[in-house]
Subunit: 453 residues, 2 copies
Amino acid sequence: MLSADFISALEAICTARHGAAVATMDAGVDEGNLAAGVVALPASTQQVQAVIRLCRQHKVQVVPQGGRTGLAGGALSAPGQLIIDMNRFDRVGDPDAVAGCIEVEAGATLQAVQDACSKVGCSPGIDLAARGSATIGGMVATNAGGMEAFRCGVMRNRVLGLEAVLPDGSVLNDLTRVRKVNEGFDIKHMLIGSEGRLGIVTRAVLALEPLETAAATALTGFATARDAVEAFAMLKAAGGLLRAEIMWRPYAEVTAAQTGLEAIPAACEGDVLVLFEMAGDSHDTAAEKLQDALSELPTLQGGLVAQSESQAADFWRIREDSFAVERVWPGGLWYDVTVPLDRLDDYTQGLQARVQAVSPELFVSIMGHLGDGNLHITIAAPGGASPVKDRCDAAVFDRLKDMGGSISAEHGIGLEKREAFAAHGDPSRQALTRQIARSLDPDGLMNPGKIFV
Amino acid sequence: MLSADFISALEAICTARHGAAVATMDAGVDEGNLAAGVVALPASTQQVQAVIRLCRQHKVQVVPQGGRTGLAGGALSAPGQLIIDMNRFDRVGDPDAVAGCIEVEAGATLQAVQDACSKVGCSPGIDLAARGSATIGGMVATNAGGMEAFRCGVMRNRVLGLEAVLPDGSVLNDLTRVRKVNEGFDIKHMLIGSEGRLGIVTRAVLALEPLETAAATALTGFATARDAVEAFAMLKAAGGLLRAEIMWRPYAEVTAAQTGLEAIPAACEGDVLVLFEMAGDSHDTAAEKLQDALSELPTLQGGLVAQSESQAADFWRIREDSFAVERVWPGGLWYDVTVPLDRLDDYTQGLQARVQAVSPELFVSIMGHLGDGNLHITIAAPGGASPVKDRCDAAVFDRLKDMGGSISAEHGIGLEKREAFAAHGDPSRQALTRQIARSLDPDGLMNPGKIFV
């Protein structure tokens, strides 16, 4: 437990909550995240520095938190630790359409940044379902991905400049607003994706993209992922492709059935369904362009272009209601991997076979972001039983690294993937991760236990 | 000088050259680069490892070299050091158009990679004038930029996977072929742009872009950089903009006069000239598209769309013959900075005024890559006299960091920019650069003296 001295020193620096005040913050939904029971709410970089220095002095471990939307346990805390909640860092600067960038504070939500950018016809070039809660700082710390990564990159590619408080309480002040900078090692790239172990992000400059205001959506069917990848390449070459989300049929059938939309996936044949979203000057021109492009696809096994916004919303519901799988197949194991586009069939067919070898009763759901080969996989047993984790892990991770893929695509390692990282990560990358963390944070106070023990 | 023991141990590992054999390699043009006088030419990652371990054992400093096309002195060597020449690492893998990537060895030239990719209708998404000599390893080590960075990113954004021999002789084996990877700190981003101080790049996986095979070029004039930036944004939004190179008039007039092309810049008005290159299905459709887009520009002060490839080549000669400035104004100081696009007029006008205050006789030449605000600046005195470096440095670097720009855009720090980096770089970034180098290379054997002392 934190001492009364520490808490009173903390309260002299910034707003803090502890005891019952923490319990009421999120009414129990965040039990693991808030287990530390003491939360600092700094509102300036200076306050974050002071809190970090206080923690060093008292050897108190720190868990930074943003929107707490991560799925890998990167924000879990324990009694005796201090949560640094960054939500008061919520200022969003004016987007500069000429320079193509915006400066934002770490606690601003993605949605708030998107809204500010849209006023000048721009977008931060990244989007994900948790946009209303996920904060920029958390997205930087976890190098978030999402649906636009194939054309705009992941969070790492969106960050032009970064301010962060480092483990020794000093500040990395690298708020450049340009893309071409070669001034010594690019330290900000060490912080991006470091899951809080190298510092606390306080501010970032993000690059902007033009905002597409009108788009049309199609649901399409293909016999194989290879055909879907070929279609993706053709639609991308046609220009204006905004999104390409892939679902293997079992996933789409489960989520569609949960929302009474069974007729939609049934209208396409093939094992692989893809949602394509194409930009245009208006919905109608976009729909026409999409229809034309689809009619050129030699391998299409049925496709529907949404005729209205509400129909498009139905299509997207089938993709986005991923929790439906958990409702129908509770207790499943989830994975987040990347597979090179030339190996998707090979990998998914092998995965099915390996899981069936574990137990023929297991259900395998696969969907994800087609353009970058990022698959979200769930393996579940009937009746809410727990699948055997070791054997399912082996089935999912087998050969992934050899084919040039990744065991952890966009959700990070946190606590959940730590064993997988230790077992499958490049030994040299693991060793350097530890070495650099030790060099910058010799007392191991920054989000300890996340990524590696 | 290196001992006979060391050299015979080196020769047992791999091909090596020393003494007169080194002097004949480049017939004197590379005097500073080859001053070490001993060159190892490893042909496998294992050989690089063995050479690095031998150097550690003998405490011999190492200078890695690729195409030796850098302009910042990053490949300079001295007697007693060992050059590791990576040119035997020249294998280029088969480009995979489906997965969108290619694996190449560090000594392959950019041109060799471009040629291989073009056979499958792809491009590595990066281009620069030294393409015939610059190697992929050197481009990774310096985080090269070039003309396509505004749409495809800099080298950092092109690298999906990396293999490198680290200062302790171990190998970072991170040859992923995908974009979404979150597995601990992204060590490869620490190596990219580290100018040889953290390891020697041996192999990389690069992302591919579709190759544009037909294009048209226009030379355009604008009163201000602000107008040029606005035109850039409009042409980019029209789709297919491949390049946008900016030249302030004094630069274009000097290079045009050297090649008898004075009539070309004279056909445009305004202080700021821009070369736009636009893709199309054929030269004619591209030229038509470019002409249409230019006709919509409210601020255009004259423009010429090249009617043939040879006319386009003349336009490009004016931009690319940057050594013409050195011939007419010998002994000048050169700079490579980045300015946010909303500050280009502000910065360049201030620069002119500051240089005139140093001496009204000084000539200022400015050109660069419009889309990312990367300016190449030369300041020269009449009659080959040397401008006062300290005062010119101050004139160029003044306020750059405050406006979110960079003192070193794409050529790196090397030896040439070391003082500027020490004076203007973020102190925290400098400190961490040193700390991480010390942690990974405690004996300081890897390209010592480059970036920082």
